[in-house]
Symmetry: C2
Subunit: 204 residues, 2 copies
Amino acid sequence: MPRKKTVEPDITTEEKIKEAARKVFMQKGYAGTRTRDIAEEAGLNLALLNYYFRSKEKLFEIVMMEKVQKLFGVLAPILNDTSTTLEKKIELAATNHIGMLMENPDLPLFVMSEIRNNPERFAGKIQAVKLIQESHFVKQLKEKRPDINPLHFVISLLGMVLFPFIAKPVLQEAGSLSAKGFQSMMEERKALIPFWMKALLKTR
Amino acid sequence: MPRKKTVEPDITTEEKIKEAARKVFMQKGYAGTRTRDIAEEAGLNLALLNYYFRSKEKLFEIVMMEKVQKLFGVLAPILNDTSTTLEKKIELAATNHIGMLMENPDLPLFVMSEIRNNPERFAGKIQAVKLIQESHFVKQLKEKRPDINPLHFVISLLGMVLFPFIAKPVLQEAGSLSAKGFQSMMEERKALIPFWMKALLKTR
DNA sequence: AAAGTTTTTAATCAAATGATTAAAAATAAG
DNA sequence: CTTATTTTTAATCATTTGATTAAAAACTTT
């Protein structure tokens, strides 16, 4: 059995800081986060943050890129799978994306608003439209329904999937919608959204 | 002719500050805004902000409430008009809401993320779900399609309308979509969304 | 174990930031 | 015109905040 170092931390200090940073940045946004919040959340000395990551900004950029990747990373392989039908892609996109978002419900609002607050920082680093336009999904859609603007269709699909998560803070205001209620609603939408989007494909 | 005071400002100082505050808060969010930014934007001394509004927070609350009202204020009268059909309500909601949002494209993302960053501040002050549930629109929908969960339908409608504005910063990243392109897309959606939402009403 | 290296800590800095104050300027009232 | 009131300004405070530093502690290598 390989001997452990004295008090081997199964989680490294660097990772502890990142983990805390993820939590606090997601909760308060970049501008609303103080480096001291992160240090406290991680249970570590403030100076360690700068020792490992040089600055608040550098640390944020790492977290942010992770989050962008997480938010859109699920979709790319689904929309570009050349072996599945258009309908299947819609099903998978809805189900998998909602599944991931139920575990990371703040992801969309966080990413959108941070890009919004500081567009320069991400200039050129994200190519959502190009990614959509050149996808196999759009190719299939153009063949089946050349009269439908693919961008409209994809944005509507994404809107149906993402919007409830973005509106969650408003929906849950005043206890109008419980956490449980929200969850079961999103579970229903996994099937409902594909059903509705397929119905739109049949419109004439 | 009523004599003007010497150097009567057609816009009051108080309003100048509010105007500047609207602009800067919308651009950078509450946490990212410095009171000095607002003073500078208004071309006024920093102390005037506190003279007229007591604090950054108080000023923000005024601006924020205006924005919430603007974001949802258009919808309530449309959804509760007892003299229009379900279909007409969908048309009006889409057209009017998109029209207003084209002139205030950052509104949805601003409101959502500020509520998200500080839910306590708005506890009980917004009742979106209740407003929806008790609307005449939902009553009509329940009659026509008792099998459809009204919340799903409304959220989908709102998603189709609001999401493009929320995703705008991402869509316009890397110049993938020009400002002009975005505008004409939203103009198209004024007709497309009602068309699609009505199609969903016919699904069986 | 001794020497060297890496990690962690407490203390401190400098700049930024929300707010206040006391005086000046502008306006209104007598 | 003089006095009172309101508005505006410059200067300054007290905190907060991102970052640094120098020393201590923990760990590695020899």
